[in-house]
């Protein structure tokens, strides 16, 4: 289970400086920020802009283009449930409906107790063993709602 730091401008500046010299540095920087803080905090955007000699609007444009970058930290656990065709062929739509009902959240939502964030994902390359998911980066296959609940309970 990942533990995230709360935003700190000095820490963010260090992270940015560590990657700023790389070719096309913005994605590596944004990944590193999200790794540390669980999201790309809006306070980090001007820092990235300054380091890369971009406008804040340009950095905002980059952050919001990519589905992966969050604006707020996720819950304790992140469940990425595959919604793509190969998993659909094995009932992923019904499974997603059941999971959303059981957790009481919609896509991108976090349960009230802050325990689980549910993210849709379009393909994990586990298309021969679907329906598939990643729970905190751990791959899960041949899923049904009960298996997901068991996995969440053992991760808690």
């Amino acid at each position: 289970m990942p533990v995230f730091e709360s935003f700190n401008a000095d820490r963010a500046a260090d992270i940015i400086a560590a990657h700023a010299g790389r070719e096309g540095a913005s994605l590596p920087i944004l990944h590193a920020l999200q790794h540390a803080f669980g999201c790309v905090p809006s306070d980090a955007v001007p820092l990235v802009a300054k380091a890369l000699n971009l406008s804040r609007a340009e950095v905002h444009g980059i952050v919001t283009f990519y589905h992966e970058f969050r604006r707020t930290p996720p819950g304790k656990h992140v469940l990425q449930l595959c919604r793509a065709e190969a998993c659909q062929a094995l009932g992923a739509d019904r499974l997603a409906e059941a999971v959303r009902t059981r957790l009481g959240v919609d896509w991108h939502g976090t349960t009230e107790d802050g325990d689980v964030t549910l993210e849709p994902v379009f393909c994990l390359g586990l298309c021969s063993v679907g329906p598939a998911a990643l729970l905190d980066g751990t791959p899960l296959a041949r899923l049904n709602a009960d298996k997901i609940v068991t996995a969440l309970e053992s991760a808690a």
Binding site: E23, G24, F69, G125, V129, G137
Partner: protein
């Protein structure tokens, strides 16, 4: 101790391979490999015996005590015993070139890699020189395995001939198509073959730097490939003097951020440059002005990883396999509602029906196959009456389909093709980069029109409108996202019209 082999591939891990490996660790030397690609048999345990590797699968951790008691470590009989691995029909029927080592070797062992024919291709490329190497790739007939099928040798020659202070090799590992996992399996199971292929590309085009752009949804492939890069660099395979050639070439892996469109080569280049992943108009071609405006080869993982064996065995051997203008082998991925799911590498020309029914064993649910989607979210839905189509770039194009990156997603008779057509539009709307109007606006209008059709509102008029919209998207979009979304939509409409009636 006896050596046993258990995959560390993400599909095997998802089915419990780690627990099986841990249970066997006190009794045997456990070697973690890539997957053989027989995913319905994972976790597959192979035991090294004088008769060859003997396979057991699918093994649950609870089966381990019984297997040990049955003498598994000497190849003893058991209900889960599958005999000699190589003789399992699914494997025996394949022509494994690109995936020859995958599932066999420890992916991070250079000794294993060399012992199984690695680095011979690179050695030969260095001896032959740049021009002869490109000529070999050209003669082999290798075409881009990402989906577009462009001749690899021509791309390399164009980049080699282009003027530039710097040149780049960019590997497209943004394998976003549902139903495909060949890139993931190769990077997790035989990463050195990709490194070798990229080094050959670099030395023969004059590029000094390579980037691998891997999608973030593949954490295991990312980790394995980074580890392989470190091993290769430490051994002098990458760096200022690649393999004693006197030439510089190094590789860096970059991670995507969940944008499907970044699998399109120019969007991928924009993303590597640190921008929004928006498609560029072509020309200029990436081979002339690619990454940071420099001449750039952009190739898929499988294309690059296939080059070493072409150099090693000669272009004639590769060229001799296949049909028509599709030469060599294709790693075909059987996915979705399929009984024997996994990766099947074969020469081009196997019929779709053989792949789905014979090799794939039909559906997992046991119900009749109603449709298969070939080539990812932008690929057509094929009904069983087109199952005589041979797996070949041109044959699929002739039937308004595409083979794409080689993924086949099987659906049983519970599938609703109108729903699938709507999903195609929804997916396009979510993933459109926004640069061109037909894709950005058309996908949303397409979704709305589909909703009207399924609600029974002016069905004939709206169906005509949907066809007209597909025509606009097909010919007016800047890239294959908007341009190919009509394939799933129109194939569903043409082959399964009954699903579009209220």
């Amino acid at each position: 101790m006896t050596r046993v082999f258990i995959a560390r591939d993400a599909a095997a891990l998802a089915l419990g391979a780690d627990a099986v490996a841990a249970a066997l660790a006190p009794h045997a030397t456990v070697v973690r490999t890539g997957s053989r690609g027989m995913h319905w048999l994972e976790p597959l345990v192979e035991v090294e015996t004088p008769a060859g590797r003997i396979a057991y699968g699918p093994v649950d951790v609870a089966d381990v005590p019984g297997l040990l008691a049955a003498g598994m470590l000497t190849g003893g009989a058991h209900a889960l015993c599958l005999g000699v691995t190589e003789a399992i029909p699914f494997l025996a029927r394949q022509t494994r070139l690109t995936f020859a080592r995958c599932g066999v070797v420890d992916p991070l062992s250079l000794d294993d890699y060399r012992a199984h024919g690695g680095f011979i291709g690179l050695q030969k490329a260095i001896e032959a020189g740049a021009a002869a190497t490109i000529d070999t790739v050209l003669k082999s007939g290798l075409r881009g395995r990402g989906g577009a099928g462009f001749p690899t040798g021509i791309k390399w020659k164009t980049t080699a001939d282009a003027e530039g202070d710097r040149k780049y090799i960019v590997c497209n590992a943004d394998e976003g198509d549902s139903g495909t996992f060949a890139d993931r399996m190769l990077m997790e199971g035989d990463p050195f073959s990709l490194i070798e292929g990229m080094a050959i590309a670099g030395l023969s085009t004059g590029a000094t730097k390579g980037y691998v752009y891997t999608r973030s949804e593949y954490p295991h492939a990312i980790a394995t490939f980074d580890a392989a890069l470190a091993v290769a660099r430490a051994a002098g395979m990458l760096g200022p003097d690649v393999f004693g050639s006197g030439q510089t070439f190094d590789i860096e892996q970059r991670v995507g951020a969940g944008a499907y469109v970044c699998g399109e080569e120019t969007a991928l280049l924009e993303s590597l440059e640190g921008k929004r992943g928006q498609v560029r108009a072509k020309p200029p071609l990436p081979a002339h002005k690619g990454l940071f405006g420099c001449p750039t080869v952009v190739n898929n993982v499988i294309t690059l990883a296939t080059v070493p064996c072409i150099l090693r065995d000669g272009p004639e051997a590769y060229q001799a396999i296949g049909m028509g203008r599709s030469r060599g082998t294709m790693p075909i991925q059987l996915a979705g509602n399929v009984r024997f799911g996994g990766l099947f590498e074969a020469g081009f020309g196997v019929s779709l029906g053989d792949l789905v029914n014979d090799i794939g064993g039909g559906t997992l649910s046991g119900r009749p196959v109603r449709a298969v989607q070939v080539g990812g979210p932008l690929g057509a839905y094929f009904p069983p009456f087109l199952f005589d189509t041979p797996f070949d770039y041109e044959a699929f194009a002739a039937r308004d389909g595409l083979i794409g990156h080689g993924g086949i997603v099987v659906f049983d008779d519970t599938v609703d093709l109108a729903k699938q057509a709507r999903f195609a539009m929804e997916f396009c709307a979510a993933e459109s980069c926004g640069k061109c109007t037909p894709c950005r606006i058309g996908s949303t209008r397409g979704m709305e029109t589909m909703d009207k059709i399924t609600a029974g509102t002016a069905v004939a008029a709206n169906t005509a409108l949907l066809r007209d919209l597909c025509h606009t998207m097909k010919f007016g979009s800047l890239c294959a996202l908007g341009g190919f979304i009509p394939y799933p939509v129109l194939s569903a409409l043409d082959h399964f019209p009954e699903d579009f009636r209220p």
